[in-house]
Amino acid sequence: MTATSAPASELTANSRDIRPGRIIIWTLLLIGGIIMITPLLFMFSTSLKTSGQVYDLRLIPAAPTFDNYLRVLGDGRFMRWFLNSTFIALTVTLSNVFFDSLVGYTLAKFEFRGRYFIFLAILSTLMIPTEMLVIPWYLMSSQLGWIDSYWGIMFPGMMTAFGVFLMKQFFEGVPNDFLEAARIDGLNEFTIWWKIAMPMVVPAISALAIFSFLGNWTAFFWPLIVTTSRELYTLPVGISSFSAESSIQWELIMTGAAIGTIPTLLVFLLLQRYIVRGVMLAGLKG
């Protein structure tokens, strides 16, 4: 990239730009950001309250306590749920990265009849409400013995249309020369994809990985349906089991939610610049 196509913001970031207008905008943005996280602050605040104080809605608890955390974390089941969620989110993410990339690559870089049709067909799955599929999925799982297994939780999400779309956009930006050079070097098509094309779209892969991880980390409905033993609960299902018949232990739910937010928060903070870059390079050509 030449200097001329550098982001506009960097070029316009003159010293002149430290002006009252800028400061006001900055302040407004910061205030907006703080408003954005207020609900999260309440979540953390509630997680520091005892069950008797839950309805005392002050942001700063009168007597903050880490009991809820001790209780939640001390419970072996919670750790198990946490690990389940991690394992499931990671596995599904890996699968997404692998398959979505493979499909996106094939649709972007191979010429064959039916290519556009397949792309449209995959995209059209975005329009099918998942709620519509739960019962057929459940039937299928039970016939194939996938109920109450990790695989049963994971299989519906192993590939996503969003990922295919994203990766296709990206691979279209990879110059054919690279692939042809590899072809001449004697690589087969699979190796070309894996060894040449994939490393060139790392930003896209990170973006996809983050979205996929976040999506699966918070998945609730299907894991709830397909698991029977508590050992296999994912974190959100586990957290929601803190609720009982019309009596919900909000302080525990908030604690669980708070703990559950931390990994995604870390993932995001570590990788956020890749998301922007990733999506940016995709160019979203519609």
Partner: protein, 310 residues
Amino acid sequence: MASVNAVPQARPVRFWDRLNIGTKRVIWAWAFLAVPIAFYAGIRFYPTFQAFWLSMTDWDLLSPPRFIGFANYQTMFADPVFWKVFNNTFLYLIIGTPVSLAISFLIAYYLDRVRFLHSFIRALYFLPFLTTAAAMGWVWRWFYQPVPIGVINGFLSTLGIAQQPFLRSVDQALISILIPAIWAGLGFQIIIFMAGLRAIPGTFYEAARIDGLGDWAILRKITVPLLKPTTVFLVVFSSIGFLRIFDQVYNMTSNDPGGPLNATKPLVLMIYQTAFSSYQMGYAAAQTVVLFTILLFVSLLQLYVLREKK
């Protein structure tokens, strides 16, 4: 240097070697697609077609489905609740999509120019995207409480504005639910918009400045048109999101799902209730077919309206 890759001479000519290069590539392509196609066929399309068929039956989960033609559809179109829900769903769409896009664009536009603490502020906006709807729905319910508990009403009354019923009003409830829904998705949209903004080459702005355009004119004439691919993407994805709104409604009206008086009930919640509280699977399937049709229609319409004019 000796030749390491001499052309193998006396190799038996296998079938594979007799194929054209183009043919081989097509075979590779289908080989790559084989597993995904099987996946999509089995996990997405087959159940979908099943749903189409089920919508013509009276399946209640418990006894085997019986074909009843379009009876479910007749029931549905005669049901005032369905039309209310239908209406709600469109309200979510036509308020939610433009409002959330406008807000996220505005924030992205200005955030993009902020250098100081840039990623920190960006993270603030993205954080809600990381949370679970159940926990956040509860917090928002409390925000909407009347005084002395409700933060928003408290704020309004310090401004001297009358208390608002929010979730306890047939007029305001839908908007009150839309706000957290927009809130939760804002971070994602901001990130996408920022990526789109950054992909616009800086020389376009410089050229426009030299042509004498002010900030506002640049925004209108350069930024917005050049951002169109991003906008199309977001419009389509966020419309799908709002048409499929469920989590926020379900969690914020858990005592009276979709209430009060169905004022907030979207189609997906109706489907959920029909299927998993009343177990009228056939009827629910008919509703999903309607939802599917709406989704398809709206997305195609948007793609058509926002298409690249040649």
